[in-house]
Amino acid sequence: MSDSALQEVDPQDRISRYLLLQKHFDARAKVVFAQAFKPPRPTEEFPIRQTSVYRTQGIDENEIWGIGAEYVTALHSKRWPVLGRADLTAKDVFDAGLLIVPNPDPHPRHADIEGWPGQEEEIEMKITYLARKALLVLKP
């Protein structure tokens, strides 16, 4: 994927949310919980609600897990390992009425899910929708 292509999000693109917390999924039932997609409350430093994701279309599994190790675990304050990921298509995100905004920091494939509504129950609805659509992929 070229730099210019990374600026455009195709609805069929795979979007991956790395999972660091065991309690965010059920490996046996292969289910991702809605809270895994919860955008943090806005702060002065980050005034917009954002859920951090990676655009993993067109790269192989080793590279996907490599990004998780190098750009998620290594930058995490507690160095928690990536346990798995929740895969969506960009269309799933768009269908939820949300946006995917490319944000190439710390990696060219990094992006943020934005466009979260102000009402808490609407946020709950959208994260529940994403959880229904998500495919759980466990780290080998």
């Binding site: 309690k23 039932a29 943090p40 409350r41 129950e121 529940t128």
Partner: protein, 170 residues
Amino acid sequence: MSLAVARTTERIWVSNTGLSQESKQLFRVMKGTRIHANEPVSLGWKRDLYYCAIEIGQECAQAGWDGYGASAIAPEAVTKTLELIAELPELLQAPYLVPSPEGYISFQWHDSERRIVSVSPKEDRLVWAAMLADDDSQYGKAPLWKGWPQVLIDLLQRYFSNVRFCIAGS
């Protein structure tokens, strides 16, 4: 037409005629088993959930517990979670408890048809959403002091009951 089927007859529980050590030991085991069998069906999962909520409260007691900017899950939030567990109807499937970066513990139910219900007890209100199909969703909020909203209980009992009825003759 529905039919309730007993797991066993009463007669097997009250047999206590043996005098040997083995018979007495067997009687004690049977007595304990009977007490356990007569507990409410859900006590097991409720007890597990109580422990789970307390464990989450301990693990997430400090701000930043997720390695990012999560709010601490305060003892009051854990207490509220315990109260909500206690108020759940006993014949529901056990929910999962999930810590939220906003400082509370969410409840989540899901099934094999990817129906999902997520309930979040915030400071003063219960916020919930249900995805029953791609084109069938519901969500809402209610004051926390009122406990579980009836609309949500009805929905959970419809889709996440742990009661299975058998049809006579089938």
